[in-house]
């Protein structure tokens, strides 16, 4: 009888154990399935826009940008900024018609829109002292466009204004491109890009400027000027937008310094910058 009891106990223990083991297998299977689904969702999250979509959304976004801030129409400045931008864009990872304009606003910033529309602000130009700094800043923006950073970012965030607009637009009539561009712009001004994309744009922008022959210190110098000026509370309005959508200046500078050091010296072209931008 005693033996029978012991055998029953062992059997009970083993059965309970096996049933738990089965539960664990099922849980593991569920986890694997969930991981597979997550991977698929991540893959689905980014389907590149067609060249026409990219161009249309960029064009509509650029028009909204012009509507919001106005643009500088001084032909000398517009030509110069386009020449510096095109110099750097020669080394972009994706050939595109890159177009550059100066937004007529005091805020300090630069913006990259799909399709190759790149804006730098009048406020940003006031903080620069040479062409290499402008080249570094424009190189950063060219990288965002070439690598489709903003497009990837907003399409991976299911809660973004753009994603919601896209989801709601099925069956709608009217100017969907304008609606999408509108939502796209809201995302750009409110949430910005992830840290890794900003770091990549800093690095690639600096490398492109150096490949063109500019000093790779350009972007670092500009970031340093912005960091110093942003410390003044009176300048909060100038830098608030950039600080809310970009990593802190100090960490960007620290990350870029060894990269710039490896790239070696280059040209700063102070006089040409002064003649085009600062000359009265």
């Amino acid at each position: 009888m005693k033996r029978l009891t012991i055998a029953a106990m062992i059997l009970f223990g083993a059965t309970a154990g096996l049933s738990q083991f089965g539960g664990i297998i099922n849980k593991a299977k569920d986890k694997i399935d969930a991981a597979k689904e997550k991977t698929q969702k991540a893959q689905d999250a980014f389907t590149p826009w067609s060249p026409k979509d990219e161009q249309d959304i960029g064009t509509a976004g650029a028009a909204k940008m012009v509507a919001m801030f106005g643009i500088i129409e001084d032909p000398k400045v517009v030509k110069y900024v386009n020449l510096v931008g095109s110099t750097v864009a020669q080394y972009a990872s994706r050939p595109l018609q890159y177009r550059f304009a100066v937004l007529d606003t005091e805020i300090v910033g630069a913006y990259a829109l799909p399709g190759g529309f790149i804006f730098i602000t009048r406020g940003a130009l006031t903080g620069m002292t040479n062409e290499a700094q402008l080249a570094g800043a424009l190189g950063h923006e060219v990288t965002h466009v070439a690598e489709r950073h903003l497009e990837k970012e907003i399409r991976s965030k299911k809660t973004s204004e753009f994603a919601m607009e896209e989801a709601n637009s099925t069956g709608k009539t009217g100017d969907l491109t304008a609606l999408k561009a509108d939502a796209f712009m809201k995302d750009m001004f409110t949430s910005g890009l992830s840290r890794d994309k900003e770091d990549a744009a800093d690095e690639q922008g600096t490398k492109m400027a150096a490949q063109a022959g500019y000093s790779p210190m350009g972007l670092i110098e500009f970031l340093t000027s912005m960091r110093d000026a942003a410390k003044n509370p009176e300048n909060k309005r100038m830098f608030g937008q950039m600080l809310s959508t970009h990593p802190p200046f100090d960490s960007r500078i620290a990350r870029l310094q060894p990269i710039a050091a490896r790239l070696g010296p280059g040209l700063t072209l102070d006089d040409r910058f002064r003649a085009a931008i600062l000359a009265k």
């Binding site: 154990g17 386009n82 020449l83 130009l125 210190m217 060894p258 931008i277």
Partner: protein, 130 residues
């Protein structure tokens, strides 16, 4: 063969114990960071020395460039539609483009430098053509 109750309980606990162990798979061991590894953060090379008369960055100062012909209405919203924290305000974000704005965007494409102009610009500055 004589059954020992202690042995049976030990066997049962082993079975159950293994399940519990299965629920918490062993952590993948990652090698500890090597604290002796030197940080790769060499000081940046000195590029061109800053010219003695290089103007300090202004930020907010005036430039030698003409502002846009006509400031947008939205530009009258305080600091060009920027709230006190420096963010673009909601009213500014809801601005719609007019046909004139669209025309200006079309003009941006027309202002892409011609290859000959770019070549001359590169030569003038001693920059590199790809």
């Amino acid at each position: 063969m004589k059954f020992s109750p202690g042995l049976a309980l030990f066997a049962a606990s082993l079975i159950c114990g293994n399940h519990a162990f299965g629920q918490n798979p062993p952590q993948t061991q990652t090698p500890p960071a090597n604290p002796s590894q030197p940080q790769q953060n060499p000081p940046p090379q000195q590029q061109q020395p800053a010219p003695q008369n290089q103007p300090a960055p202004l930020f907010g100062g005036s430039l030698g460039i003409k502002s846009s012909e006509k400031k947008k209405e939205s530009a009258t919203l305080g600091f060009n539609g920027i709230d006190p924290s420096g963010k673009v305000d909601a009213k500014m974000l809801s601005t719609s483009a007019t046909p004139t704005d669209e025309e200006k965007v079309q003009k941006m494409t027309a202002l892409i430098p011609a290859p000959a102009d770019l070549d001359a610009f590169l030569r003038d500055g001693g920059l590199k053509k790809r």
